[in-house]
Every structure is written in structure tokens, then in C-alpha cells.
Amino acid sequence: MNWALLSLALPLLSAFWVLLVRRAVSETILFATLVSLTAALAAFYQVQSDPVQTLLLGDWTLPLAIRFELTSLNALLMVLTATIHFLVGLYNRFSRHGSGRYSDYWPLSAVLHSALVALWLSRDLFNWYVTLELLTLVAVALVTLSGPKAYRAALGYLVLSLIASLFYLLGVALLYGEYGVLDLDRLSALAVDSANTRLALLLMVLGLMLKAALWPLYLWLPDAHANAPTAVSALLSALVVKGPLFILWLTLTQIAPVEFAQQLGLIFALFGSVALLSGAWSALRTPYLKTLVAYSTVAQLGYALITLGLLLRWQTPELATALWLFVIAHALAKVSAFLAAGEMQATFGSKELIAVRGASQSMPLAMFAFAVAGGSLIGLPPSGGFLAKWILLQPLFAEPAHWPWALAILLGTLASAAYVFRVVALAFDRYDVETELPQTDALAQWLSLLPALVVWGLALISQPLMLWLSTGANP
């Protein structure tokens, strides 16, 4: 557990340090992130021998203390968070289009890192509320980094997020009123099927869905994610929306009465199917490159929502493996997609999609990164995205009654293929000879390719990965 705590505290401490001394800002944060990554790996290694570690903060006894829990799932999520933070940080440091070495991107991203780790570790409903607020404020601050043009999107995001937090908080208060505890395990042991419990869970679900931008409460996402600086879009899409999803999954699997969970599950699965198609449809129609990538997040979250819905509907905890594989694969692929898209947008000097015409010749690496990431988003074998989809589809194919869901997922796959190819096809279009080749930045393009390679590399460790996820995800 101490390794996990180190991984939690270091980014935060380094953020305070660089805010205070304002020297070697990017280097300090990158170094701290690397150490934090190492610590997360150490924690992950440790958790293999001791699968569920708990820590009662302040050494108080349970119902009073806030509880941290370390399983191989959240250790893996910690590794993922640190990896992505590090990779995006590298891009932001070395790309010409990054935010600069001294900008507040650095301390803010470090706080984001710590807030997420705090969220993964915590098992306390109210503590989650505070981490969610923290996450919201960091995310909004990061969005405003790109200047006045992002203010409207940032404000919309903030307002919706604040009201979502209140929904969540009211739900927590009602649960506390009924059971008198805030700890997840305690609640799980005490919870019964009552009108108050249902109301409380419903309020929490609404708040969390809004925060995680799950369909139909996703309307704030495309604006906020498309208007943020590139590195920030990558962090937001890859990591921030997954935090509320994690809480949603834990509360519903642990606390929700079975019948209620099943009803919710059906709704989730339906919403997820709609999200797949509507997100893809919007991605197909938008004229802007980064907005397309942002809408793809809406669509991809549809997969997570379907998986969560079916998991609740059939009460099959095994599906959690698929859920978290989706999350990990999507996070890595989306980082690549956003970095590549942002790099192209900045190089061509236009946010229009049409600007990438001929990019396969002028910026082959970035285009390759986008295509490779897109491959995982579509779910081409043997990428991480494929792995997740495969685990999800197996039980669906097994029974004819489940085929409609399989059909929805296959349709979603086709739709995501359509928007990925929309970009790729344009890039392979004939390059306009008369325009000058823009100055490209090879290093930045390589950096945008890295996460995509990692997501395809997941296939190499698919067996242990599934094992880790399945042991960690079924407490």
C-alpha cells in the first residue's frame, strides 16, 4: 500500500513545488510522474502476492475511517493513469504545439493525476464527492488553458458538473440517512431494497452519468474536449470521464438491490446502444477534426455503458473484465487519436477536417498514429479494443436471446469504422500540389504514435491482463 500512497502523493507534491519555485517546471513534473509510474508498478507487483489490500486512513476503525483499497484492477488503473500522464507530458514538452515549459499545464496535470489516483483508491462515498469536485475543477482549469475561445465550453462544463455533484451528494446524504455509514463495503452489507435506497441510487446515477458524459447526458463533452489544448483533450477523454464511471460501476454492483440493478441495466444497455450510433453519426457529420475525435469518445463510452448495463442486467460480474479492458484500450487509443489530430490541426493551421487532405504524404507518422489508434477504436484484431469486444461478444453469441445486443455492438463497430475511415480516406486523397508542404515535427508525431503502439501491444499480454482484471474487478 505504501507504494500506492507514494504514487498518489508524488505528483501532488511536485505540483506544489513547481508552483512555489517556478524552476525546471516541466522536468520536475515529468520526473515525478516517472517515479509515480514506477511506484504504481511496484504497487501492482505487490498486489499480485496480496490481492486485496486495505488501508484505514488515520488508523481509525471502520465505520469511522475513510478506507482505501488496492486491488490489481486499481493498481492497473494507477499504472494507466501514470503512463498516460507521462506520455502526454512528453508530447506537451517536446511538441512545438505544446503549452510550453512553464505553463500551468504542468502543475494542473499533476494534480489531475493525483486526484484520479485518489479516486481509484478510495472506497468512501463522500470522499468520492470531494475527489469528483477536485477532478471537475482541474479539468475546467485545463480547458481554459486554451484561452478565451474555450471559456464558453468551460463554463457550460463547470455548471453542469456542479449540479451533477449536487445530485450525487444528495444521493449520498440519503444513503447515509438510511444506513448511517459512508463506507462502500459497509453499505454493501447493510443495503436493502427500499424506496429511499432506490431514490438515492437514482440521484447518484444521474449525477455520475452527467459527469461521465454517458448518453443522453453527454452534450457538454464535445465542446469542452474539442476546445481544450491538444494535450488536455487527450487527458480529459482518456482519463477524466473514466473516474465517474468507476464510481458508477462500484456503487451499482455493490449497493444496488438486484431488481433495481437489473432495471437500470436494461436502460443502460439501451442508452449505450443509442450512444454508439448517435455518437458515430455526429462524428460522421461534424466538419471539425477534433470534434470528430470528441464525438468518438461519446460513441466509445457507449460500449462501456452497454457492458455495464449487461453486467447489471444479468448480474454477471465477469463482464467487468470487458468493461475495464474497454476503458484501458479506449484511454490509450484516444490519447493517440487526440495527439495526432491536434498535431495535424496545429501544423495545418486549421481545425477543419478537410485540412487533413493529403496528410498521408505530408504527415505520414501522425496519420499512421491516428489510423492505428482508430484500428483499436474499431476493434480490429489483435488490438486491445478487439480483446475487450471479444470478451463482451462471447456470452452474447452463446445465447440467441442475446443476439440483438450483439447486433447493436456490430453496428456500432461499423459506425466507428465509418468515421475512422472518413479521416483516413481524406488523408490518402491526392495532395494538392500547389500548396506548400507545412513544417512538420517528426518527434511530436512519434510521441503521438506511442500510446497507439501500447494499445496494440496489449494483445501480447492479453492472457495475464485478463487475469489481472478479473481478479481485481470481482471483489
Binding site: 478565451p148 463554463l155 455548471v159 449536487l166
Partner: protein, 97 residues
């Protein structure tokens, strides 16, 4: 009905009214007032739940203190963001002329 139920119901009503106000308004200050009214409702629910016993539940009180501080920080930032937005948009408009 006891007074805890009176204030519990009042809190829920306040929460809903705030949400209602939020849905109906498109103005930054109004929206933030609505959010804070909603927040007041949630805190009212929490405190009325805390006051059920013989003495008042200290944990719930502490949670509300935390909630208040979080709310005021977020509100402060949101209001200033709203002012910055108004300024940015008015200077944009002047730039167009």
C-alpha cells in the same frame, strides 16, 4: 411529522426548485444562484438528517462544512469565468466592427 421531516422535505423542495431555476435560466449569475439554492437544499437535507438523534451528528456537520467550502470555491471561479466570458465576447464583437 416531526421537525426533522419538515426540514427534510423543505430541503428536497429547495433542491428541486434550484434545479428548476437552473433549467429555466440561461444567465450565468442566475444559474449559479440556482446551483447554490440547490446546494442549500442538499445541505438542509443533510443537517436535518444529522439532527435526528439526541445530539447532532458531528460527521454530517463536518461533511456540510466541507461541502460549503467546495461550493463557494467553485461558485467564485464560475462567476469570474462568467465575467471573463462576457468580456471576451464583447471584445470579440468590437473586433468585428
Amino acid at each position: 411529522m416531526t421537525e426533522f421531516q419538515l426540514f427534510l422535505g423543505l430541503g428536497l423542495l429547495l433542491f428541486l426548485l434550484g434545479v428548476h431555476g437552473l433549467v429555466l435560466s440561461e444567465h450565468t449569475i442566475r444559474r449559479l444562484i440556482a446551483i447554490n439554492v440547490s446546494g442549500g437544499g442538499v445541505f438542509l437535507v443533510m443537517v436535518s438528517l444529522a439532527s435526528r438523534g439526541d445530539s447532532v451528528d458531528p460527521v454530517m456537520q463536518a461533511l456540510v462544512v466541507t461541502g460549503l467550502v467546495v461550493a463557494v470555491s467553485a461558485t467564485a471561479f464560475a462567476l469570474r469565468l462568467g465575467s471573463a466570458l462576457t468580456r471576451a465576447e464583447s471584445s470579440d464583437r468590437e473586433g468585428d466592427h
